[in-house]
């Protein structure tokens, strides 16, 4: 048997290597400087388009760019949302980012900028970046400097199954929170699961609390709370209470606490297969529903998050974010060229047409053909306020704590007050 030659050293090495091995993981990452002897430049492009049709369309765009620029090779690295965030954390710590990488802007981008890892695009993207939709550029402007170029902008709202609403006798989508709770009750009464939620991933649950906070406390209060590191204002407790009211109706699908978002048994598939009537999700929802499940086609509708009676916020204030591409500090010129190519009108039209993103280049609206993206686009254009995703807007620890404590509220282990206290505590710990 193997134990004959056991030595203490072996034991120690094994325990040590396994115990702390995780630290070593942070060291791995690509570092290609790109240039090679024959004059071709290879640029690495990290994105999160892992679902169809975006995956194929993006690969096709990279090919097209390569054809236009024979001396440039693009290496695409595609990672699923959460894996991407983890991997980027490790890369950020190692001090070297990919040439072109996906970003949501806000607090995470700011940390990367503060660490000196991101290229300032002020001069490099003049003048073509001026033609982009101002609201889409907003999340990436830090200290008045743009650090990323958007390719998508959008907002979160309720995506609902018109057929199931009809079946439950709901003629028009609710515009108030009480009306919404009524709709949930009606759906339940008909034996229809009202809402799908990816409880395992936590961020979809955060959307409810964030929107409710915007509706009760208001957008300014969210900004102020972040600045003052104090989330204990009554408006936030009320937001939690409203969410608790919803949770107590047991509106979510069976096993939602363990459900993921985009897997075949996840939130998107549950709605896409007609097994739940609604989900609170961003503008990408239709394409993921169709990829993970069957998709609802014409039965899919969109309505904005309802207003809360007596709250400070209006139904026209939107919560969302987009997607953009940032460059690592010192990225080759080819990477800038690619950003320009990706923000061109023809690219944007193709993205809008084929992958369901919302136009960020002025004039690309003409490519919209589906009423749902049009509805979202109309909401965005008429928006009276904009709040970036909380887990992106705040420092990572605070954002994660929001996700985590709201998840606990939904699971029933934290009270609305405790949620605000936990977030405040974490915010105060971050200097």
């Amino acid at each position: 048997m193997g134990d004959r030659a056991l030595s203490r050293r072996g034991f120690l090495a094994a325990s040590a290597a396994a115990g702390l091995g995780m630290t070593a993981l942070s060291g791995c990452g690509g570092d290609s400087d790109g240039g090679s002897s024959d004059g071709t430049t290879t640029i690495e492009w990290w994105n999160i388009s892992t679902t169809e049709p975006a995956k194929t369309v993006w690969a096709g765009l990279a090919k097209k760019f390569e054809a236009q620029n024979p001396k440039v090779k693009i290496k695409i690295v595609q990672l699923e949302n959460d894996a991407y965030k983890s991997k980027m954390t490790a890369l950020t710590a190692s001090g070297k980012l990919p040439d072109i990488f996906h970003t949501w802007g806000g607090g995470v981008l700011k940390q990367q900028v503060d660490a000196g890892l991101v290229e300032d695009l002020s001069d490099k993207t003049k003048p073509w970046a001026d033609a982009l939709l101002p609201v889409a550029k907003k999340p990436y402007i830090l200290d008045d400097k743009p650090y990323a170029i958007p390719f998508d902008i959008g907002m979160v709202g309720f995506w609902y199954n018109k057929a199931l609403f009809k079946q439950a006798g709901i003629s028009t989508p609710p515009t108030t929170w009480n009306g919404f709770l009524d709709a949930v009750r009606k759906l339940k009464a008909k034996g229809i699961t009202p809402l799908a939620l990816a409880g395992k991933e936590k961020w979809p649950g955060m959307y409810y609390w964030a929107y409710l906070s915007m509706r009760t406390a208001g957008i300014d209060a969210l900004q102020k709370a972040s600045d003052d590191k104090d989330f204990t204002a009554p408006g936030f407790v009320q937001a939690g209470q409203h969410l608790k009211d919803l949770v107590q109706l047991q509106p979510f699908q069976k096993g939602f606490l363990g459900a993921a978002y985009s897997t075949p048994t996840g939130e998107a598939a549950t709605v896409g297969n007609g097994k739940a009537a609604m989900e609170l999700m961003g503008q990408w929802a239709p394409s993921v529903q169709a990829d993970a499940g069957k998709g609802l086609g014409k039965n899919l509708g969109f309505f904005p998050f309802p207003a809360v009676e007596g709250g400070k916020g209006a139904i026209t204030e939107v919560f969302g974010g987009g997607g953009g591409h940032a460059l690592r500090k010192g990225a080759p010129q080819a990477a800038v060229d690619f950003l320009k190519f990706f923000a061109s009108r023809s690219t944007d039209m193709e993205l809008v047409k084929k992958t369901g993103t919302l136009p960020v280049v002025q004039g690309a609206e003409s490519a919209l053909s589906d009423p749902n993206p049009e509805a979202v686009q109309a909401q965005l254009k008429a928006a009276t306020g904009f709040q970036l995703f909380l887990d992106q807007a705040y420092a990572p620890a605070v954002g994660q704590e929001v996700n985590d404590s709201v998840a606990a509220l939904i699971a029933g282990s934290k009270s609305p007050e405790q949620v605000t206290q936990s977030i405040t505590k974490t915010a105060k710990e971050e200097q």
Binding site: L6, S7, A14, M22, T89, G258, A408, A411
Partner: protein, 338 residues
């Protein structure tokens, strides 16, 4: 992630090279100078050791020491740690309900492994050590899950235990036990039980293989002698097989406990520690803080505590449980190690 699994699998072969390098040089009877020969031997030894040493120091020892250092700072992972926090991270750790829960869940896993998994593996090993039609097939089948990667196992079982749609619920429904179908991984009260089921499925084959190897090294004469003395099956097992299998059992217990302390990949893939932290392990908490919240100092403190637990357990286990086994194997090197 892979580090956890790879250590456990490469664990045994490593041992053979144990303290090997300082073997006495073979008797030199032709002499162009003993000293020169010695020097050559020494250089050869160093030459062979350097690559391994460099890797070990660079990739294991230094990161470990650095983690220990970082554990005393509030540090976000950028630049060098500078905001000294004293033992703040550690006091925070032991007031953190999630971490205390991690320790409790770790204990639960260890106890369940020792009480259910290892006896089950032993029973299977004893059964498959009999002459039996197609036993090689059974052995292979039971060992197969161990070969599967943790990530694949995780994805597989998230599907099997998907509420309503999963295989588990379908099977229960088909045999008329539909009422037993549950939320499996989604229910805070059952998640650990379901998780343990998966762990058991994945790892019992490995322990079974260890036991089988151990069983085959037990001389048949001893069992025969016991048979002639009139010992029944239970007595033969209790008084012959079990004592002779003891060294193997002790190793398997050790591996099982260390594995439970460091459990990460399966949990991460299946539940990410949820719902509401009810399946979180120390390694998952460490990952959350280190790689999602950028509180690397705090995460380092967690990894240091994990390391401490492993170390204390390994030393204590070796001192009190494995001593007999080690003495038998190292009698010729008494002075060198305890």
């Amino acid at each position: 992630m892979t580090s956890t699994s790879s250590t456990s699998s490469t664990f045994l072969p490593d041992k053979r090279s144990g303290p090997g390098v300082e073997l006495p040089p073979p008797a030199a009877n032709f002499v162009p100078g003993r000293a020169r020969r010695r020097l050559l031997n020494w250089l050869t030894a160093v030459g062979f050791q350097v690559p391994a040493l460099v890797l070990f120091i660079g990739l294991v020892l230094l990161p470990m020491l650095f983690a220990l250092y970082a554990a005393f700072f509030r540090w976000g992972g950028f630049g060098m740690p500078s905001d000294y926090a004293g033992t703040g991270n550690f006091t925070r750790l032991f007031q953190d309900d999630v971490f205390l829960g991690d320790l409790w869940r770790c204990l639960v896993l260890v106890v369940l492994s020792l009480v259910l998994q290892l006896p089950f593996a032993l029973a299977m090993a004893v059964a498959l050590n009999q002459r039996l039609r197609g036993r090689a097939v059974y052995r292979m089948l039971f060992f197969a899950p161990y070969v599967l990667s943790e990530a694949i196992t995780g994805v597989l079982f998230s599907m099997v235990f998907a509420p309503d749609d999963g295989l588990a619920d379908h099977v229960l429904g088909a045999i008329g036990l539909g009422g037993l179908g549950g939320e499996w991984f989604a229910d805070p009260s059952y998640v650990m039980a379901t998780l343990f089921l998966v762990l058991m499925w994945k790892y019992f084959g490995f322990h079974m293989m260890l036991y089988l190897a151990g069983l085959q090294s037990i001389p048949a004469e001893l069992t025969e002698a016991a048979l002639i003395d009139g010992a029944g099956p239970w007595q033969r097992f209790r008084n012959v097989t079990l004592p002779l299998l003891a060294p193997t059992l002790r190793i398997s217990v050790f591996l099982s406990v260390i594995g439970a302390i460091q459990l990460f990949d399966l949990v991460w893939v299946i539940t990410q520690g949820g719902p509401d932290h009810h399946s979180e392990t120390m390694a998952v908490t460490m990952f959350q803080y280190g790689f999602k919240r950028y509180q690397v100092g705090y995460a380092s403190a967690i990894s240091v505590v994990m390391f401490g637990i492993c170390l204390v357990f390994a030393l204590a286990y070796q001192r009190f449980v494995l001593r007999r086994d080690l003495e038998g194997a190292t009698t010729n090197m008494r002075g060198d190690g305890k």
